[in-house]
Amino acid sequence: MTPATEHDRDMAARFVARMDGENWGEADEAELQLWLDGGAGREGLLLQVHAAWVAATPVAQEEIVEEAPAAPAFWRRRGFLGAMAASVAAVVGAGRWLDARSSFATRVGEIRRVPLADGSVMTINSGSELTVRMAKGSREIEIAQGEAWFDVAKDAARPFTVAAGKVRARAVGTAFSVRRRETVESWSEEDESLRLRLVAGERALLSDTAVVHHESDRASAVDRSLAWRSGMIDLNGTSLSEAADEFNRYNQRQIIIADPVVADEQFDGLFRINDPQGFAEAVKASLNVGIDESDPRVIRLVKSK
């Protein structure tokens, strides 16, 4: 590969500026393709310049989260971004450019404990993705996917905010867990953003649809759903389909319930997170279903013969 010439860089910047506008059309795409085909490595150069431009603003970094959204969702998202950007500006003021931002991602099956600069500790559950931004007047976490548990260091001057989808949870000094759920339900009539106060032991399950499950007095339920922190899954009257989802979060080898009749059966037990096989065997024994392991990537729970 030849190194990029000044002229190549110029051209890449020109295309990025044009893509940044609203008038990109067939002629532009054709022109770009022609240029890209004209020299090795131009695809990479274009991406490099494009990424540098996008990275040059904290606001734009927020825009990345979703896949190409449909028009209505896009406007909603814009509205939310506007609100977020405004609130960040209000809290941080001129210091916003000095924010330290870092991203964390865990693979399926990986659980990671991360101490934060302010003394808080977060434990990131399997298959999660989040961004942490520490600023002078605020501490902000955005969960793009998955779940995390936070043990928040007390600091009233710097509110600790966790955003997941359209919802933000805010704490001053407590421990809580936030999980982002992808649901297929349509958008509800809820507010653009919802604030809730959490005290120790409380749990909030947040989804894009702003459905909040909020438990305050049932410490045992919270402990149970936090069993993942010690490598266990604690099922207590959980439906089989939910239990399977739970295991599938942590393991490459997925459990598929092929028999819809048993999907709603309730199930109890304490299982090791990385042992879907053991779970399947237990289900087989207690609910009288069969196990089909002909495909090594999945465990199918089928009608017993």
């Binding site: 860089r9 609203e22 490595g41 990479g44 274009l46 990424a51 970094q61 210091g95 693979r107 991360v114």
Partner: protein, 198 residues
């Protein structure tokens, strides 16, 4: 190409750029420093970086990459080893540096500082742009306005706004890519004792 395909191609490019901006760009200074420690020349670093970006573009999807920074570094490492094999005569500690590299998924304080300083640097670059260009870039990047809105607000044509964005893109690209400028800035920062906080 149909209009739909054009829109898809553009959406894909934007998404990929946003992904890179989030996952890779903040660590670029750290990666460049790592390559420099392995005695790779500045020009070669530029080339390796571009090659690694090309490799990302060639992927049908990046969805399967769960640790982008580690992935990107592995890709750089692979290309570098290939180069070293071609070069035949090699400084031994170059290989040592590459082999010593571990998959540190945690962001090191050094990287954090790197990306923070780069952000300041970008601010400085924007501030140093010619007046007209600076106003356009600030509205676009800091206020998040569309080029169209900026054109209406400033009474310019959209083409003219695009031209100013182009100048801004060039300047910002130069700021991110310039590892030397960053390290100079970092040393400067260290000398002033970080006390000022900005």
């Amino acid at each position: 190409m149909t209009q739909g395909e054009v829109i898809n191609a553009l959406a894909r490019r934007r998404m990929l750029a946003a992904w890179m901006a989030r996952e890779i760009v903040p660590h670029e200074a750290g990666m460049r420093a790592w390559l420099a420690r392995a005695r790779v020349s500045a020009e070669d670093i530029d080339e390796l970086m571009q090659e690694a970006y090309c490799q990302i573009v060639s992927l049908p999807s990046v969805d399967h990459i769960t640790a982008p920074r580690a992935y990107f570094m592995a890709s750089l490492r692979h290309m570098m080893l290939r180069r070293i094999k071609r070069a035949q005569v090699v400084a031994l500690d170059a290989i040592g540096e590459i082999e010593n590299w571990r998959d540190e998924s945690m962001v090191s304080p050094e990287d954090e500082a790197g990306s923070r300083i780069t952000c300041q640097r970008v601010m400085a670059i924007i501030a140093a742009l010619p007046e007209r260009c600076r106003r356009v870039v600030e509205l676009r990047k800091i206020e998040g306005w569309s080029q169209k809105d900026i054109a209406a607000h400033l009474g310019m044509s959209e083409k003219a706004v695009e031209k100013q964005v182009w100048v801004g893109v060039r300047a910002i690209r130069a700021a991110w890519a310039s590892a030397e400028a960053q390290s100079a800035q970092r040393m400067d920062q260290a000398e002033r004792g970080m006390g000022a906080g900005r």
